[in-house]
Amino acid sequence: MTPALALDSVSKSFGPIEVLHGVDFDLRPGEVHALIGENGAGKSTMMKILAGYLSATDGAVRVDGEPVRFASSDDAEARGIVMIHQEFNLAEHLTVEENIFLGREMTGRFFLDHKKMQAKTAELMQSLECRVAPTRRVSSISVPDKQMVEIAKALSRNLRVLIMDEPTAVLTGSEAKVLFKQVRRLREEGAAILFTSHKLDEIMEIADRVTVLRDGEVVAHGPVADFTEDSMAAAMVGREVSDLFPPKRKGGGEVVLEASNVTSGRAVEGASVTLRKGEILGIGGLVGAGRTELVEALVGLRNRSGEVRLKGETLPAGDVAEARKRGFVYLTEDRKGAGLLLEKTLRENLTLGVLHRFAKPLIDRKAEDAALTKAIEDYDIRAPQRDMKVGNLSGGNQQKLLLAKVMLADPDVVVIDEPTRGIDIGTKQQIYELIHRLAGDGLSIIVISSEMPELIGLADRVYVMHGGKITGELEGDEVTEQNVIRLATGLSVAREDAA
């Protein structure tokens, strides 16, 4: 069978640095193909070459066997090749319908045919089991819904090849299932689908074939049946991945953080939390359950009612600087939007939260540089250049820098929201070990995670949230995937005695 889209020993260089080295790849009609690899392996670059966003430095791109040279992504789209990016490409102030038909608006004789477009949008959204009205503004809908709009936008085109860069990173399990249903439908219609994901179980479930990329080279490829999750991970990392999580530990000294009856807007209702010294406390729940909102309310990034006591003293509401002064900090889940200044250097990012310590009153550049040297060492941040922009670091290194930045405040209590979102397995393991080491040093840590193995593997104790409320607390052997999911979906825990 002629591949719908193929790469013939394609290389790509950015300036003097080659990031793809002679990659051969083929994508056949009617298949779902998974592209996996660690961050920085070259997945996104390869996808962008396939979809016409970048051009190859060397080698050829073939469509139906014919070598082509895309002048732009529009060129590729004209041939039915559509790519959905990791960062959304939506006009926030336009409605769902306007976004889906942007640039290809349906017209009547003179004017836009809103009725037709709305009907078509409603139909598309329904097929995606997404209940967002076509007339809603994109800025007002949730992140998973935006992903669905992106997918609807792609589906509304005449597509033969769909390329998706980590489509499920922001989706919950059930939302991913809906997406996969659509992917299977497209496959049956003969479309070729290529996607990346760090969730290996997903790949086992949906993909027909797998290509593993490491350091810009294809190191393994073949039918998914030839792989196991372990062998995929091993191929990505280039070594066997031993147990991802450090051994379980027993946390718990005196209570350092005590929140009672915390309510914040409609997102959090009457939540009470206790955290002990040296403990790793997990907060589980589905996306939108109010987990991030709860900790943001605790730390003062969001208004709240209810009392929060830190080391026995009441913490004022809505004062995040005061919380930091008293040793309570929050590491955001939104690395690029709320965590780091992508246009600034590592040094400027590292010290931003505690600049007063370096400014007396003029900023001591040498002390800053020393702090950066220490952070690079302690957190194993791999930056090709010290004075580079943070936006050019890989996701894993950004996360490590963010961790270093938050830890520079010398906290006693730190909340880490989605510690490893969009990060490769090698770095994940490093971050897990780091979290354990910090807890061992007496730091109290709250971890929010949507990844069940992560939550279960890391936390000594877990609160689970549903609809803005804490629906249960699990400890020790109770912390199981089944229990967390039951609580997260609003059911009660199946206890031994109830069975």
Binding site: L301, A338, L341, L352, G353, L355, I363, Q385
Partner: protein, 330 residues
């Protein structure tokens, strides 16, 4: 080997955006010398610098506002209003105080205090009320312009003649042959450069302009810093007025007209990004000098009508931004 190449090309790029405004300034000076031998004369240089001082002092403050992602359209009207107010107060207290430096001190204090308050009003409306800076300052621009017109009853507010003589040296005098406005401008510029580059406040401004959410999550006091940029700008408008009043000794509805646009233009020509996130005070100073030299050169030669001053300034502004974008994008 390959790393070395990257470094060198990287360095070249930065050099271009940094050197651009300076090269433009040097080119203007060379053109000026070639066209008119009087260009480099002591009198001409002093005149150009002293006239630049008002816009320059304000533009230094504007650099902070823009770097933090804000904008202030009201500074020209604010200057006119403060000048009118200061003159009115001085004239009013004159009979009871009987003249002398005390009256001038009162005028100076009124100007600085009024600038501080006016800046705080802009800043608080932007941060506490959450209204966009463009709209807030568009509003206050109209308010101040209208207030000064009303205070002057549509005409001109003039400082008492005796006081004017006493106050005159603040603009026309100086030490070591350098006039006071130039000295004050230099001090403001140097302090501004230090604050922008070497203090937490300057770094925080850039962080907020770069991404306000990141700044907030980094526990930067975003609202306070943003408000402070407007207060600082207001205070500097007050300083500019203190230097301006002795020049003409009067204020009217047309005082400070379009100063806001000249100040913003100088900031942009200097390499500060209009959307915020990066600012440099020395660039602003270069931008101010470029703008005033264009006018000066046109006045000194007959080749191009001075009426085209605005057109040439406009071309320079657009050119500056285009060049900077090229330097940054590649």
């Amino acid at each position: 080997m390959s790393t070395a190449t990257t470094n060198r090309t990287g360095g070249m790029k930065i050099d271009l955006t940094v050197l651009g405004p300076i090269l433009a300034l040097v080119a203007l000076i060379v053109i000026g010398i070639l066209l008119n031998p009087n260009f480099l004369s002591y009198g001409n240089i002093t005149n150009v610098l002293a006239r630049s001082a008002f816009i320059g002092i304000i533009a230094v403050g504007m650099t902070f506002v823009i770097t933090a992602g804000g904008l202030d359209l009201s500074v020209g009207s604010m200057a006119a209003f403060i000048a009118g107010l200061a003159i009115l107060v001085m004239n009013t207290v004159l009979p009871s105080m009987g003249g002398g430096y005390g009256v001038i001190a009162v005028g100076v204090l009124v100007a600085l205090a009024a600038g501080l308050v006016a800046g705080a009003v802009n800043g608080l409306l932007v941060t506490k009320a959450g209204i966009e800076a463009f709209i807030v300052t568009l509003g206050t621009m109209g308010i101040y312009r209208s207030l000064v017109t009303w205070l002057a009853d549509g005409g001109t507010l003039s400082l008492d003649f005796a006081m004017r003589e006493l106050y005159r040296p603040v603009y026309y005098g100086g030490i070591f042959g350098i006039s006071w406005p130039i000295i004050v401008f230099a001090i403001v510029a140097i302090l501004g450069e230090i604050v922008m580059r070497h203090t937490a406040f300057g770094r925080h401004c850039a962080a907020i302009g770069s991404n306000e959410t990141v700044a907030r999550y980094s526990t930067v006091a975003v609202k306070r810093v943003k408000t402070m940029t407007y207060v600082l700008l207001g205070l500097l408008v007050g300083v500019a007025v203190v230097m301006y009043v002795p020049r003409l000794g009067s204020a009217s509805a047309s005082t400070g007209l379009l100063w806001e646009l000249e100040a913003i233009a100088a900031v942009i020509i200097g390499g500060t990004m209009l959307k915020g996130g990066f600012g440099r005070v020395w660039g602003t100073v270069v931008g101010v000098l470029i703008l005033s030299l264009i006018g000066n050169i046109l006045n000194l030669t007959d080749m191009v009508s001075p009426y085209l001053n605005g057109a040439i300034q406009g071309i320079i502004i657009i050119l500056a931004v285009v060049l900077q974008r090229k330097g940054g994008a590649e």
